[in-house]
Amino acid sequence: MEEVKYTAANYKSDQSVRWCPGCGDHAILNSLHKAMATVGVAPHMTAVISGIGCSSRLPYYMNTYGFHTIHGRAAAIATGFKVANPEMTVWQISGDGDGLAIGGNHFIHAVRRNIDINMLLLNNKIYGLTKGQYSPTSDRGFVSKSSPYGTTEDPFIPAELVFGARGNFFARSIDVELATTQEVMVAAAQHKGASVVEILQNCVIFNNGIHNCITDKEYRADRTIHLRHGEKMVFGKDGEKGLVQDGFLLKAVEIGKDGYTIDDVLVHDAHCQSNFLHQQLAMMDGKELPLAVGVIRDVEALTYNEEIDKQVAEVKAKKGFGSLRDMILAGETWEVK
């Protein structure tokens, strides 16, 4: 049988997109349409589930099964969906407020359980839909309508939460880098288990330019590094810089300077069971060390939904009940004639 090929258009709904002009979500939506076409799962075998917030409007713009749910709960709803209908490919969309504040509990538990869903975390470090309050990823001292004198709390770093919850897949991209975003989305879809993709997204109205210090074209090459499994960790406009091991830590060096050669530069191993180096890579913030994009960790592990299905099959085969009545009659009963 000939394989059906899909194009991005097959995943687009007829609804007009209502995000603000210039919002980073537009680019992410386009990347998702294209990534889905690359993955090639039919639209009717795909479900997109979101919470509440600007980014959570996304399911309406998909020609798949979709559910725009309630604030913070997308991960829990997606978990139930996947367990109930494991043949479907499930995408879950959240923002930083939805996923890490009100939905923080569901987020970490979905990751811990390793339910086979693809979790896109659109991080703009602000509440946009409620018009500009700080979020759990806003930096300490961040001034917003709800923190007029600056916040007095430290933010979550999403990757750190993922590793704290024993996550097996973490990737990162930037909204304007469509190709990278597609690449990590495809990798997330191909990974079996909970795949978390953080996408740095720009809110043009309430937090414009929040990621500029990293994403600005002028210095993006120096402040980010694109990690690819099996490849040297090099960055810079001409790949002139690299990451090396320095004691317990990572260090950015210029290749050919201070005695460092390309042989000293680390090779990325996304499949390494230990997450020690993955954590260090994911925690790089674009200041001393470049912010990592691409697939940082991608390790196979048992998934929640497959293990449930396996257990059901095993127990069913062992007990061999055809029906509820069979099961009851095998227990303690007596007969009245």
Partner: protein, 614 residues
């Protein structure tokens, strides 16, 4: 074997086992119940246990009780016990109030030493006198007899003492002429993996039985009548298990796989336990990270095409409110089980109440109608769980099943239904011919029910959500008039379920002037009260509601037939208020109790009599 002179013949008897929460009173009570059911008695049980798992040994707060009524015409565990077993002074002190006048108390006299009395806060060394007990007290050296029976068993002292409950059980089996073979079979099942413990218990139960036989001159024994039950296969079942099984039956009859998303909470957790075991029938029961995830995973499973259920108790229902509202808005089938307990807040976690009715009906933001049903007894939990699923799936709506701690933990003998006894459930699937023109919120104009398209079906991909939708296109809509139309459509959809549920029936003396009304788990007590009043020549009719929203279609007509309508319930008047608002022309009187305990039949009779006498 029994000497006639000493045998009392009774329709039914009530036995109450009491002891420390570690003394195994629930096990002894359960076996006695099963054995009685096995000889053809009707049974009704009431486990009354503390919230503490192991309170200090011998203390008043650690007393655990198990009351059971066996015989004929049994609809409740009985107001008061004919026989009370008290394993220690604390149990005696806490439970003597449950003894009938003329009843018999059996105590383990070995546990009535000075230190034991002290732990139970007795002030003198004469506990029976101090409590003013005039009933016959049979002092049995249960501990020493148990030890003697197991002297050569090789078991350590702790294991030996754990068999005391079974000595008491043996004695009670003799007292009520229960066959020991049957009790032994239950013990064998219970200790299937511990043959040494089974052997010890088998020895001890025989010792207890023989002890009774040897002292029979000093105490009456009983013969309990049984009546011919409907032929079939029976099992002993508690309400929570019945609920779980009713859901499975609905899954079989609807062809939709069963999913449970839940979080442990007393007294509902046994539903999760049972469904977790039922992977052998294909059930997927997920213990989620919190109550909210419980309902949300169920909503996800429902969208995905499963028969989706979440189980909880009052505080959990509060946490699930927003999720249930989403299911109302998305018009997805969802069954929410609330095994009610004493509230508010953490309240009385192990005790029973009917105080979540208004929360179930109205506890959500916006106009968010849903169906509410409430089983009448432990075995009725099976039927009403099935009904909750049927209504949810056929009418595309969340349904709250309101059980309570009393019927959830209580048990009765239950006839296992034949394979074809329950109807097929017909999911409201989207018809294939609508492919291409179907919109997510298109509905059947007769029932107002929208169609269910199962994800994975080609040609029916659609988006649902909590935002208001256009009546026709299903797209997001903030149009004022459309919103109002959708609000009334959702309301109408739930109201039209009334066309699909049985009519309200009137029992006892239908021609009376006074109608006693109840709902949910109080059925047994109310029915028994009405019946006893009729027998005593006081005319009372009785109507019991199991369908709360919508109400049966003939409700107004039934209520209008009576001069006096008395609603009795375990809260401050929630159902009475609900009925009064719907039927302002009916004069509604009330009997209420909010003590965390079920009604006593005598309380109902007194209350109704008082109202009737004006």
């Amino acid at each position: 074997m029994l000497e006639k002179a000493n045998v009392k013949v009774l329709d039914k008897v009530v036995v109450r086992f009491s002891g420390d929460s570690g003394d195994g009173m629930q096990l002894a009570g359960n076996i006695f119940t099963n054995v009685s059911a096995g000889v053809g008695n009707q049974v009704s049980t009431f486990p009354d246990y503390p919230a503490e798992i192991r309170a200090p040994q011998g203390s008043l707060s650690g007393v655990s009780g198990f009351q059971v009524s066996v015989g004929t015409g049994v609809h409740t565990p009985g107001d008061q016990a004919d026989v009370l077993i008290a394993m220690n002074p604390a149990a005696l002190k806490q439970n003597v109030k449950f003894l009938k006048s003329g009843g018999v108390i059996i105590v383990d006299i070995d546990s009535f030493k000075e230190s034991d009395l002290k732990k139970a806060l007795f002030e003198t060394d004469q506990p029976f006198k101090e409590l003013g007990i005039t009933a016959q007290v049979v002092e049995v050296p249960i501990t020493s007899m148990t030890k003697a029976a197991l002297a050569e068993s090789g078991l350590d002292n702790k294991s030996v003492l754990k068999c005391r409950n079974i000595f008491a059980l043996g004695l009670v089996c003799w007292l009520f002429d229960r066959p020991l073979e049957s009790a032994l079979q239950h013990l064998k099942n219970k200790f299937a993996k511990k043959p040494a413990i089974y052997e010890a218990n088998a020895k001890v139960i025989q010792a207890g039985y023989d002890y009774g036989h040897n002292i029979h001159a000093s105490v009456s024994t009983y013969r309990i009548e049984s009546e011919a039950a409907m032929p079939g296969v029976y099992t002993d079942i508690n309400g929570n298990t019945a609920t779980a099984w009713g859901l499975i039956m609905a899954s079989e009859k609807s062809g939709r796989p069963l999913f449970l998303g839940s979080y442990p909470i007393t007294p509902a957790t046994d539903i999760l336990h049972e469904l977790a075991k039922r992977k052998d029938l294909g059930v997927k029961a997920c213990q989620m990270e919190d109550e909210i995830a419980g309902v949300c995973s169920a909503i996800g499973a429902s969208f995905a095409g499963n028969l989706a259920v979440t189980s909880t108790s009052g505080p959990g229902l509060a946490l699930k409110s927003e999720g249930i509202g989403l299911a109302v808005m998305a018009e997805l089938p969802l069954v929410v089980i609330d095994v009610q307990r004493g509230g508010p807040s953490t309240g009385l976690p192990t005790k029973t109440e009917q105080t979540d009715l208004l929360q179930a009906l109205y506890g959500r933001n916006g106009e968010s109608p849903l169906a509410v049903v409430a089983p009448a007894s432990p075995t009725d939990c099976f039927t009403m769980a099935f009904e909750a699923c049927r209504i949810a799936i056929e009418h595309m709506t969340p349904v709250v099943l309101l059980t309570d701690a009393f019927i959830g933990n209580g048990s009765s003998a239950w006839r296992v239904p034949e394979a074809d006894e329950y109807p097929e459930i017909r999911p409201h699937y989207v018809p294939e011919e609508l492919k291409g023109t179907w919109k997510a919120y298109m509905r059947d104009e007769e029932s107002k029910v929208r169609y269910w398209a199962i994800p994975g079906t080609e040609g029916f991909a659609h988006r649902l959500g909590g935002l208001e939708k256009d009546y026709t296109t299903g797209a997001i809509s903030t149009d004022a008039v459309n919103h109002e139309k959708m609000v009334y459509t959702r309301k109408e959809k739930v109201e039209r379920i009334a066309n699909d549920i049985p009519a309200l029936e009137v029992a006892c003396d239908a021609d009376a002037d006074t109608l006693l009304v109840g709902w949910g788990g109080t059925y047994g007590h109310l029915y028994t009260a009405a019946e006893e009043m009729c027998k005593a020549g006081k005319k009372v009719a009785f109507a019991h509601f199991r369908y709360i929203n919508p109400l049966p279609a003939n409700t107004a007509e039934v209520l209008a037939r009576y001069k006096r309508v008395i609603v009795a319930e375990l809260n401050t008047g929630q159902f009475a208020d609900y009925l009064q608002a719907k039927f302002p022309g009916v004069k509604i009187e009330r009997i209420n109790k909010v003590q965390g305990q079920p009604f006593l039949v005598s309380e109902i009779i007194d209350g109704v009599t008082k109202i009737m006498e004006g």
